[in-house]
Symmetry: C2
């Protein structure tokens, strides 16, 4: 009955991380359906069948990536929120942070916006729950905000997140930096039209 070591000590030459990285990159840029297991295997430098040593199915691979993505994004966001000195500053920091996260090329978080809900029906509920957890931070931030009476808090959250998540469709490195883009969103929200 084997080792007394409870750690799932992975061997040094395991390419699990290469698989996760490849999947995250391809799911984020091409979407779930448009990415094949062969694409992922090729990008990770291995054979298609080998992926199934690490994950039982394509959907499970997506779920694993999604969990890492939310975790990464969440910890980034928490730190940004801490740095804000009042509710309004916290909200602004969060906006800039989320924008940077979504435009960071080597980050998993773009999978959250690159995968259509319902592309993986069997795990759709889990993915939605994960994403909702992340968005809860924004819920709390906006609740603590002083706002004009005509502004609906739920709508504000959905519009801001929608605008930021859409940046991935037009962003191109070389122009404005992710940080500048995030700051512009804040600016547009602060200036009355």
């Amino acid at each position: 009955m084997a080792s007394a070591n409870p750690n799932k000590q992975q061997r040094s030459h395991s390419r699990l991380n290469a698989v996760l990285d490849a999947g995250a990159m391809l799911f984020a840029t091409r979407g779930y359906k448009a990415t094949t297991m062969r694409d992922i295997a090729s990008q990770a430098g291995m054979q298609p069948g080998s992926l199934y040593y690490h994950f039982a199915s394509k959907q499970e691979l997506l779920q694993a990536i999604y969990e890492i993505a939310v975790e990464q994004a969440q910890s980034r966001l928490d730190e940004a929120i801490r740095s804000g000195k009042n509710p309004q500053a916290k909200f602004e920091e969060a906006i800039v942070c989320h924008t940077e996260t979504m435009l960071d090329q080597d980050n998993y978080a773009r999978v959250m916006t690159g995968v259509l809900p319902g592309d993986a029906p069997e795990i759709e509920a889990e993915l939605t729950t994960l994403r909702d957890g992340y968005e809860d931070s924004f819920r709390r931030l906006i609740r603590a905000l002083k706002l004009p009476p005509k502004v609906d808090r739920k709508m504000l959250r959905l519009f801001v997140l929608g605008a930021i998540n859409a940046t991935r469709t037009w962003y191109a490195p070389g122009g404005k930096t992710p940080r500048q883009i995030g700051l512009q969103i804040v600016e547009i929200l602060k200036q009355p039209l």
Copy 2:
């Protein structure tokens, strides 16, 4: 050498429109890759092979739908813009109109946001050109706007369109109407945060 009638008079019992409607509906809700020709045929009430009497390929079907979509959206938008009495009012009318268009269930326009760029590589350029034409209306509207100096016009356009296009991911009939949602966007832009 046939008829002197130059009209491409389509027969009354042709189900071309059923094909277009089915394709628009499925591409809009599931995306391009996730929609199969069999899905479309089934929804249109015919056999998969029959689709190829009307269109030479899946991509050509998408293109035809896309062209109708942009045309519909454009004519709606033009009318809304006409109804605004000054640049600011025109911009606001355009926001509400575009929101209603995107959330209209029986409209083709959702295909513009439901299909990922690059899903159909061979016609990607045409699709982008079509969409750019539509967005040009917003470019012109924003150019005519009096704005605070710190607000970048290009960013304002991308953020507003991004926020509106994202509504399709969370909108559910029964809650706020498309019109109310559009008006809330305007409200959030007008009120300083």
